[in-house]
């Protein structure tokens, strides 16, 4: 088979798997698991084959036009350069891991068939985004991901949290997608084509008339999809979905799409230095803010969600300093260790029967209950905190190195100020990242108090996946940083000495600070008993998690916050803690800015409809009703009256006909 055929099959196979899963899920339950696991696995093999054949050299392009579509043609185009080939491998790899893990995680779930099919569809859409060489085809995958995330986040739709979260995810990403669509049209019109290669060609020849407007419009869509400030609020709430879905959304699909999109079209953004500065500021605010917020979250998955937002901030930061190689490098290593973090968190939640760190910190010996999750999560947290030699260190240092390079003014198209913004924010975030990673680890695994409940061993499908994901988290960065530049732009990704020392030093400082704070506060834990555990700890992991999410708010008063004096984050953040737990009240701002006006408008429309429009309708009906009442009086119920009237009418008609006939 030619490489093009293989590449077409990569997104097609999960799509066919999804269609077959949706059709056969009810009638042939035996096929559901193979149909869920095998298509992503086959896609992974094919994506790896495509990557090997592509080899980082000349981009593989192929295109066909199905039908003429007017002025700017839309074509089914493939455009596989080194970025696309490698990102597709990561996507297929994480999706396969998630599908295998889900067979254990949701083994008793009645809605598993549709869930697995939607995960496959999600994967297929992301692969379409990755391989597509046409912006409109890319948009199709982009929007399919939006609707899949809506369904999957709302998987536990019996709980109000999941319903609200799925709607929020859909609406917030759509809020970014509308400007994104307009931006795509403007870009296509300016460049005269939707083909990525032609668009980039038009940019290099200076063919774009409005680069800043286009870049900012596209940036809105990217901010929505990749959960960047100020459209990041859907991501922490999306934790109401099942943990494998969180892993999928955070590691490979959805949030990665935005970063990947900018990486593909980076020259378009570089054409406008204003857009680059906006991108840098957005990345910096996202990074630092999410780090502080993660330090205050009580739900283990919300900590990870904010950490995703922060790591995505690193990626957009790398893009803001014009180094897409570093961004995609971090995207790939982050994909591996973030998937591992989420899947391990799913195991921990199942074992502990709660998603609350405060409750976990009052359990003794949780790590002995789930040794696989303990060791793999330790590795993943070290990678997240960018401790050498784990893979996160190399990718994060490549970002910081690129920022330093830009701050010195050595990077073309990039203002030096963006370099400084990204560098400072990145270093601050390195400290915060290490702090919340340490806090998560200490609270989850170093708890003191009652013995953790024993629910037996976790399913093998879940633990094996954790170990498989550990390998790239451990070693991917160290082995890849030398060979990756051949696949990417050729820019060196080797960590520079200065930023490495600074970043690692700050990470160590953050970790030690948290450890010291934890040493001081952990004694308080025994004095403040706290904790609620799921009602059915023996159920499958999905059920336990749904119950844990549903009980968090009644048990602790808030979905993100727990009144726990033993939390080291409380000591570190001081008065900021309360606001950080609530995500700096951004949701309240949105409520005041958008939700309330919309609701007021809705009640105004309701008033106009009920009281004004309806009054006219009722008034128009009054006269016919009056006439009808008068006519109804003739209906006496006496048949003879009717016949008399009939006779009288007949006589009158006969006389009239006679008169007309005689011509009188």
């Amino acid at each position: 088979m030619t490489t093009t055929t293989l590449a077409v099959l990569v997104p097609l196979l999960p799509f066919l798997g999804a269609a077959a899963g949706l059709l056969l899920g009810r009638t042939a339950p035996g096929f559901v698991r193979p149909l869920a696991v095998l298509p992503p696995l086959a896609a992974l093999v094919l994506a790896a084959l495509v990557a090997v054949r592509q080899g980082g050299g000349q981009a593989i392009t192929s295109h066909t036009e199905l039908t003429p579509t007017g002025s700017v043609p839309i074509e089914l185009a493939l455009d596989i350069d080194g970025f696309a080939a490698l990102v597709a491998v990561v996507v297929a790899f994480v999706a396969t891991c998630v599908q295998i893990y889900s067979t254990g995680y949701l083994r008793d779930d009645p809605r598993y068939p549709s869930y697995a099919a939607l995960v496959s569809l999600f994967t297929s859409a992301m692969l379409l985004v990755v391989y597509s060489g046409d912006l409109i085809v890319l948009l199709v995958g982009w929007e399919v991901m939006g609707i899949c995330s809506y369904f999957l986040v709302g998987h536990y739709w019996e709980t109000p949290e999941a319903r609200a979260a799925s709607l929020k995810a859909f609406l917030v990403t759509k809020l970014g997608d509308v400007p994104f669509l307009i931006g795509l049209f403007a870009l296509g019109t300016d460049a005269g084509s939707f083909r990525i290669t032609r668009v980039l060609g038009a940019v290099t020849s200076g063919g774009l008339d409005h680069p800043t407007v286009i870049a900012l419009l596209l940036l809105a869509g990217v901010a929505g999809k990749s959960a960047q400030f100020p459209l990041h609020t859907w991501l922490p709430d999306a934790m109401a979905g099942p943990t494998p879905v969180s892993a999928l959304i955070h590691a490979a699909t959805m949030v990665a799409a935005g970063v990947y999109f900018i990486a593909r079209l980076l020259p378009v953004f570089e054409a406008s230095s204003a857009a680059m500065v906006v991108l840098a500021v957005m990345a910096a605010v996202t990074m630092a803010g999410s780090g502080v917020a993660a330090l205050a979250q009580d739900d283990i998955k919300r900590v990870l969600a904010y950490s995703t937002i922060g790591q995505l901030g690193y990626m957009t930061g790398a893009l803001a300093v014009g180094d897409r190689g570093a961004a995609v490098f971090h995207l790939m290593s982050h994909g591996a260790f973030k998937a591992l973090l989420f899947l391990a968190a799913g195991v921990i939640i199942h074992a502990a029967g709660t998603n609350s760190l405060a409750a976990m910190s009052r359990m003794h010996g949780l790590r002995d209950r789930v040794p696989d999750a303990y060791w793999t999560m330790t590795v993943a947290l070290l990678a997240l905190a960018a401790i050498p030699p784990f893979s996160g260190f190399f990718s994060k240092e490549s970002v910081l190195g690129a920022a330093e390079h830009a701050a010195d003014g050595h990077t073309a198209h990039v203002p030096g100020v963006t370099g400084w913004i990204v560098l400072v924010a990145g270093l601050v975030t390195a400290l915060l990242t290490a702090a919340y990673a340490t806090r998560l680890w200490l609270l989850a695994f170093r708890g003191r108090g009652a013995e953790a409940p024993d629910h037996g061993r976790q399913p093998l499908t879940m633990t094996v996946v954790l170990w498989v994901l550990t390998i790239p988290s451990l070693a991917f960065g160290g082995f890849a940083y030398r060979s990756l530049p051949d696949w990417f732009d050729g820019r060196d990704l080797t960590p520079t000495l200065l930023t490495s020392i600074l970043g690692t030093g700050l990470a160590l400082v953050g970790g030690l600070l948290t450890y010291g704070a934890w040493q001081r506060t952990t004694a308080l834990a025994a004095r403040a008993p706290l904790g609620a555990v799921a009602a059915h700890p023996e159920g499958d992991a999905g059920l336990v998690e749904a119950e844990a999410i549903a009980t968090h708010e009644p048990a602790y008063g808030d979905i993100a916050y727990a009144p726990d004096p033993a939390d080291p984050g409380r000591l570190l953040l001081g008065p900021l803690h309360r606001h950080a737990a609530a995500g700096f009240h951004l949701d309240a701002v949105y409520t005041a800015l958008f939700v309330r006006p919309v609701q007021a408008g809705a009640s105004l429309v309701r008033f106009l409809d009920r009281e004004v429009v309806d009054t006219y309708v009722r008034g128009a009906a009054a006269l016919p009703r009056l006439l009808g009442a008068a006519v109804r009086r003739a209906q006496t119920g006496n048949v003879q009256t009717y016949v008399s009237a009939l006779l009288a009418g007949t006589v009158v008609l006969a006389v009239a006909v006679l008169l007309v006939a005689t011509g009188a």
Binding site: A629, R632, R633, A634, Q635, T636, G637, N638, V639, Q640, V643, S644, L647
Partner: protein
């Protein structure tokens, strides 16, 4: 025989029938009046058939044939009519048309469901 005699007789019969239908209160008498009207028409059919066939070369006597049809249908009609009157009389204890006013438009016309319920009650 001149055509005037049967024509006058049939019109007298028809007028008697119309008067009976409009004025009698007993349902059976109303039905009988209907029969009178039908028979007036039958008389007309026969008379005109004879009068017309005198001039014709060849005739099918379709008027007389139609009379036979009318008599048969009238028999069926009166059978059904009497059965209905019998059922109404058993149900209501009366065959007085003036008192059978279920289809009258009452003063309360805004509630079709309640009147339907009343009707169901009445027929039960």
């Amino acid at each position: 025989m001149h055509l005037a005699y049967p024509a006058v007789l049939s019109s007298l019969l028809f007028c008697t029938g119309v008067y009976g239908v409009l004025a009698r209160r007993n349902a059976i008498l109303v039905l009988m009046s209907v029969e009178l009207m039908l028979n007036a028409v039958n008389l007309n059919l026969v008379a005109f058939d004879v009068w017309l066939s005198r001039a014709a070369e060849e005739t099918l006597h379709s008027g007389q044939a139609l009379t036979l049809f009318t008599i048969a249908i009238a028999a069926a009609e009166i059978g059904i009519g009497l059965a209905i009157v019998l059922a109404v009389h058993r149900n209501r204890g009366t065959a007085d048309i003036d008192k059978l006013r279920d289809t009258a438009e009452g003063p309360e016309t805004e509630r079709p469901d309640s009147s339907a319920a009343e009707k169901a009650e009445a027929t039960a």
